[in-house]
């Protein structure tokens, strides 16, 4: 169940050999460079040829497969745009001409199965065999945390894919990793006030939580906010394994719990199945559904009649195109190539590559410590949701949180018009201090 898109390794070997030849010809100059900059990670080997390699691991099978494919499409579009010098990439990374520092970007794709061990194995291979200068991908925070550790150990840059856990840029943060999507804590701070305003104070809530770092941290953040600020009570928390084949026993507990609000933290197909079955059991629409961390394609899969009136916090929704010109360009180009409007997984992926290109161009080198310092400089970067910037202390992007509400089926203007944007909240006021979750980034070298 693994697939590799290997791009002509033999050609690369030829290029590496050629690179080595050039290197030996200009030995004196190189030995000086080596003195103040010893090789680190895949540098300089990974960027000596005319191309650089990026290792991508996304789930293409299992519970998060649909979301992984969307994410992958975002990466692929970004690479195409970087290599061709598309105006959209140039708008985000103004120094980009074609490629990154003139080098063509090549990628290898592996199926992580949303499994940390598999992801680490595949990325280790991309690092040792392909001399990857960047690794990316995750549609599970468990994978993101594992790849954080790999990146720091191997001294190879990692830009995360989808990961909502507080741990990713919190207690498990590392110098070599950068996250674009927000903390679960930030999602809670954004959607909390909306929930209290909409449903009132002192409500009883049932939680559904996937049993790993993302689920536990998001549930805690949301519950803490609602308890402290709205006097809400968590009457039950149904923790289930990733990829549970049936949710009936969890839902039976919820049906008997006396809850008024169902807060579903499940993600991917787990979110789809648990929501569908909650409807079968009559829990929905009797209880009000809330989705703190929105799942791409959820509304499409469960149907607009189920998501009608449901509040969710998300990174991106395509109707932001009405507000932001770059979002409009992105949605148009993506839809033209793939035949549907991008979900936030694709947006997240595209932006991560674009911002990496920007960081490298500004650093003027692929030398990892330089690239990291370029990220940490905190430049304002134009994005699909307005200007954003990196927070140096925890490598978290400061970006808005988008609050959406499910549209009624009859209010939809086209088959993909599931959500109405109710608010775009600036990120900075929502975010806790960078060290609140114990982030210590570690060393550059």
């Amino acid at each position: 169940m693994k697939s590799f898109d290997r791009i002509s390794p033999s050609r690369r070997r030829v290029l590496t050999a050629a690179g080595a030849l050039v290197a030996s010809a200009s030995l004196p100059r190189f030995s000086i460079a080596a003195e103040d900059r010893p090789p680190i990670g895949t540098w300089p080997a990974g960027s000596e040829g005319s191309s650089v390699f990026i290792g991508i691991s996304v789930p293409r099978t299992g519970t998060y497969a649909a979301q992984g494919e969307d994410e992958l499409k975002g990466y692929q579009l970004a690479v195409e745009h970087i290599n061709s010098g598309d105006p959209l990439i140039k708008a985000i990374s103004p120094k980009t001409k074609t490629g990154v520092l003139g080098k063509k970007v090549e990628v290898g794709v592996a199926d992580s199965q949303a499994n940390p061990n598999t992801a680490v194995q595949e990325q280790s291979r991309f690092i040792t065999e392909n001399k990857a200068v960047l690794i990316t991908g995750s549609t599970s925070s468990a994978v993101a945390v594992a790849l954080n550790k790999l990146a720091q150990r191997e001294k190879v840059l990692y830009v995360t894919g989808i990961t909502g856990s507080n741990d990713t840029t919190g207690k498990d943060c590392v110098r070599y990793s950068f996250r674009q999507d927000f903390y679960g804590q930030t999602a809670a701070a954004a959607i909390g006030p909306v929930l209290i305003k909409t449903f009132g104070k002192s409500r009883k809530a049932a939680f559904m939580t996937p049993d790993y770092t993302y689920g536990h941290t998001v549930t805690k953040s949301v519950n803490d906010y609602l308890t402290e600020n709205g006097g809400w009570t968590m009457v039950t928390n149904q923790v289930s394994p990733l990829g549970a084949p049936d949710f009936s026993s969890y839902l039976t507990n919820i049906a008997n719990s006396g809850a008024e609000i169902l807060i579903n933290v499940n993600w991917g197909h787990d979110a789809v199945l648990s929501t569908q079955q909650a409807k079968q059991f009559g829990i929905l629409p009797k209880m009000k559904l809330v989705i703190p961390y929105q799942t791409p394609f959820l509304a499409k899969e469960v149907g607009a009649e189920t998501t009608e009136g449901v509040y969710a916090a998300t990174d991106f929704w395509w109707t932001l195109e009405d507000k932001y010109p770059l979002a409009k360009m992105f949605v148009e180009k993506f839809q033209k190539k793939y035949g549907y409007r991008p979900e936030w997984g694709a947006e997240n992926a595209y932006m991560q590559f674009a911002m990496w290109a920007d960081a490298v161009e500004h650093a003027g080198s692929f030398y990892p410590p330089d690239v990291i310092k370029s990220y940490e400089a905190g430049r304002k970067i134009p994005s699909f949701v307005g200007e954003v910037y990196w927070r140096a202390a925890d490598h978290q992007l400061v970006r808005p949180v988008v609050i959406v509400r499910g549209k009624a089926p009859k209010a939809m203007r086209n088959p993909e018009d599931f959500w109405e944007i109710t608010e775009v909240l600036p990120g900075a006021p929502l975010m806790q201090a960078p060290d609140a979750f114990g982030c210590q980034l570690g060393s550059y070298t």
């Binding site: 293409r60 099978t61 299992g62 923790v239 394994p241 026993s249 039976t252 008997n256 079955q277 899969e301």
Partner: protein, 291 residues
């Protein structure tokens, strides 16, 4: 969260969940019990039955036709699988049988993914079984209640075919001493083909009957295959009645543990399986020494 209403509700939910597990496990155990082949493609066949039914439902809008299509398509797939691949593996070691069926399973899953993508597909229940019924102590999805009835009838039918007919007699004789049955002029080869077809059909039937309860994804068979194995091990490998008992017990374990601590319900299932393996290695209704 242990309250009296919730306890009764969970006991009932365990029964309904257990019935589903029993049905899915029965096909697996029929094939293993008669042919001695552990069919690791069973989860994929279960999934394929759902998708075949989905295609038929989209084309005709009839749930009955979807059920017939899902079952029959899998019967054909089963017979083809047996004729083209499996029959060459009867005399080979179990490891080879496991590897080849596992491989077939992966192929089926990826073919379905190629054709339908990773986004889930849904088959609605028939209109007369949609909605929720009140049982007095709880509300329960009407279709799940209907499923319990459908499964009971299906399991009874399977039981009668395999244990009360001439075919069933030959099958069981074939397992004990296939050379002797052959010598008596009975075509064991053909009987084995039919049994594999029936086992596959049971998986397909379970897949489409279960489809309105879940949403279909190419990987849906993986998680269920694991639970199915637990059911078969608890009930007794190769025992048809054991699959039913194991299914019901597993359903109750999953449901009742979730009441105490939901994150332990999966763990508890394996704990009970371990206990059974220690105290009664052949399973609750299994026969010692039978392979």
């Amino acid at each position: 969260m242990i309250t009296w209403p919730n306890f009764v509700s969970q006991c009932f939910n365990g029964l309904a969940l257990g019935a589903l597990l029993a049905l899915i496990s029965s096909g697996l155990t029929i094939i293993y019990g008669t042919l001695g082949v552990l069919n690791l493609a069973h989860g994929a066949m279960f999934m394929l039955g759902g998708y075949a039914g989905y295609v038929a439902f989209e084309a005709t809008g009839s749930f009955a036709i979807a059920v017939a299509a899902g079952s029959l398509f899998l019967a054909v797939v089963g017979v083809l699988m047996e004729r083209v691949v499996i029959r060459y593996f009867y005399s080979r070691p179990h490891e080879d049988q496991i590897l080849v069926t596992f491989g077939i399973g992966i192929c089926l899953v990826e073919l379905v993914r190629l054709a339908f993508g990773s986004l889930s597909k849904t088959v609605p229940p028939p209109s007369w079984a949609a909605g929720i019924s009140s049982l007095g102590f709880m509300f329960y999805p009407t279709y799940r209640l209907v499923v319990v009835g459908i499964i009971a009838v299906a399991l009874l039918g399977l039981f009668l075919v395999l244990y009360r007919t001439r075919l069933g007699l030959i099958v069981r004789a074939g397992i004990e001493d296939s050379a002797m049955v052959d010598a008596l002029g009975i075509d064991v080869d053909r009987v084995f083909m039919i049994v594999f077809g029936i086992g596959a059909m049971a998986a397909g039937f379970a897949g489409i009957v279960n489809a309105p309860v879940v949403s279909l994804t190419p990987d849906m068979g993986d998680a269920i295959l694991v639970q199915t194995f637990v059911v078969v091990v608890i009930g007794g490998v190769g025992s048809f009645t054991g699959a039913i008992l194991g299914g019901l017990i597993s359903g109750e374990i999953l449901s009742l543990t979730s009441m105490v601590d939901p994150s332990y319900s999966g763990v508890m299932l394996f704990a009970v399986m371990t206990l059974v393996l220690m105290l009664r290695p052949q399973g609750l209704l299994g026969t010692r020494g039978r392979t």
